[in-house]
Point group: C2
Chain length 294, copies 2
């Protein structure tokens, strides 16, 4: 695997960190980004530059995408020559957070054209990506999945295989982001209740983070929320809204009433409308605080 | 401290375990329980039996209560001779989960009669109490609080001092139980979404418990919820409803809108109405599951 040529499409903050780690793991890289300048650093470091998405694909090879949303992913897959260049036997490792419906539809298109789509969304912020500390959920047809897992192992701290259905990893990722957002809303309500009753949010955050909730989500977001430290963003509120919209829509498509998901989605929606889209998504917790007149 | 005579009122599953550990730490115990037989084991082990709550009190001494609700606590404090026997200088360590209003009101009565109330509610199930693994939140006037902390240190794995206001620890406890219940509801919604999309709840529970949520609340409740293993109860759904009612009421009194708290309160309320009051309170998650037709 170490000398496999890998295409990488989508050089944002996450993509750049992952691509760099793949190169450091010994892979020859061909990178593409719509705004070409974002790939300049990687090209300076030795990656080849593709002029269009299809040029990052090779017959039977692996191409990775890390894009901002369903539409960007659909555009890349639908772009001239992308699917044609990947066949026969190529693997598209789709790391974007997108709807399970999009993943499923695109997986069928790949299969029809002789390649495979493996979904591989990640949990972790750009700093975690740089430090090879991502958690990666992988699902798709077994052989293609094995190639994706072998390729991605060096860039994460753990890989969770979610089965043969590509959309499974996409659903898993939406579930995870929803549960994180719900944890933040619950802390926000608890902190507001504490603050109005003489208990500092930081004291509650400290207690939670050392006891029942001694885990990254509560420890890091607990401090962020207690201190209302929403810049620089690790993950923007606007992107959080995108993901919670996907979770709520997935709930609608599957007929799963999700009252918590709707509340946090509306917190995020309201956050965007209040001009907080570029803050860290933990700023969704300002909603509960403001509702309490704090 | 080790030879202090300590009164202990309320010998339920939690109270019995804590009282036994206090005796093993070297304290002479005087125990009282309304249903006297529940104290038989402790009496056989060497504790003295009080015939009424006041007999568990001594002038300037320490009496601990661990009771089921606000009303039981008010009855004990209001019972003949209780406050009179504790003064001057006695300390009532109130470990029950009760409303901050009740704690505050009773603290004033103690102060007026020459003693002090220290709130010391705990996080942990009976097994944790037996294993001296409780997390204990303590608040109240400094000198009295110091006595409570010294006394309780051997029965817990950690003590969090929440300041001079006795009601602070009561609010903290309500916040903690609410955040646990919210974590369970969020997992339930995520698991239902996963299940309808081909991802097993146990796979999501495993992922969460090993990554962003690698902490006791998600690990133990995640498995419980995924396996729908609600007996024997560690903490009953009926008691959970009591606590979430207190949290929602505290929100009302403090004018803190708490949409998540209302949803989980209603899940618990509905659970009781469906005959699940004696199950573990994680059975509140059946609500989201049933709403999804699962």
């Amino acid at each position: 695997m170490a000398d496999e040529k890998v295409g990488f499409i989508g050089i944002g903050r996450m993509g750049e960190a992952i691509a760099r780690n793949l190169r450091e793991a010994g892979h020859e890289l061909v990178v593409y980004n719509r705004t070409a300048s974002k790939a300049d650093a990687l090209v300076r470091e030795g990656a080849a530059r593709a002029q269009r998405p299809a040029d990052a694909c090779s017959p039977g090879g692996v191409v990775i995408t890390m894009l901002s949303d369903d539409r960007a992913l659909e555009e890349v897959v639908g772009s001239d020559g992308f699917l044609a260049r990947l066949a026969p036997g190529g693997v598209h490792v789709s790391m974007s957070t997108v709807s399970p419906e999009t993943t499923e539809r695109l997986a069928i298109r790949h299969a029809n054209e002789g390649s495979a789509l493996v979904a591989a969304p990640v949990f972790g912020r750009p700093a975690a990506a740089a430090a090879r500390k991502l958690w990666i959920c992988v699902s798709g047809a077994p052989q293609a999945r094995d190639r994706a897992v072998a390729l991605l192992r060096p860039v994460g701290q753990g890989i969770f295989e979610m089965g043969d259905d590509p959309s499974a990893a996409s659903v898993t990722k939406l579930c995870g982001n929803f549960v994180i957002a719900a944890a933040m809303e619950s802390m926000a309500e608890a902190f507001a209740l504490g603050e109005k009753n003489g208990v500092a949010p930081s004291a509650l955050a400290d207690l939670f983070g050392k006891t029942m909730f001694s885990c990254p989500a509560y420890q890091s977001y607990g401090a962020t929320i207690a201190e209302r430290r929403f810049t620089p963003p690790g993950f923007t509120l606007a992107l959080g809204l995108k993901d919670l919209n996907l979770a709520v829509e997935a709930g609608s498509h599957s007929n799963v009433p999700m009252p918590f998901a709707q509340i946090v989605r509306d917190r995020l929606r309201s956050g965007v409308e209040k001009g907080r889209g570029d803050l860290d998504w933990a700023a969704l917790t300002l909603g509960a605080r403001e509702d309490a007149g704090l």
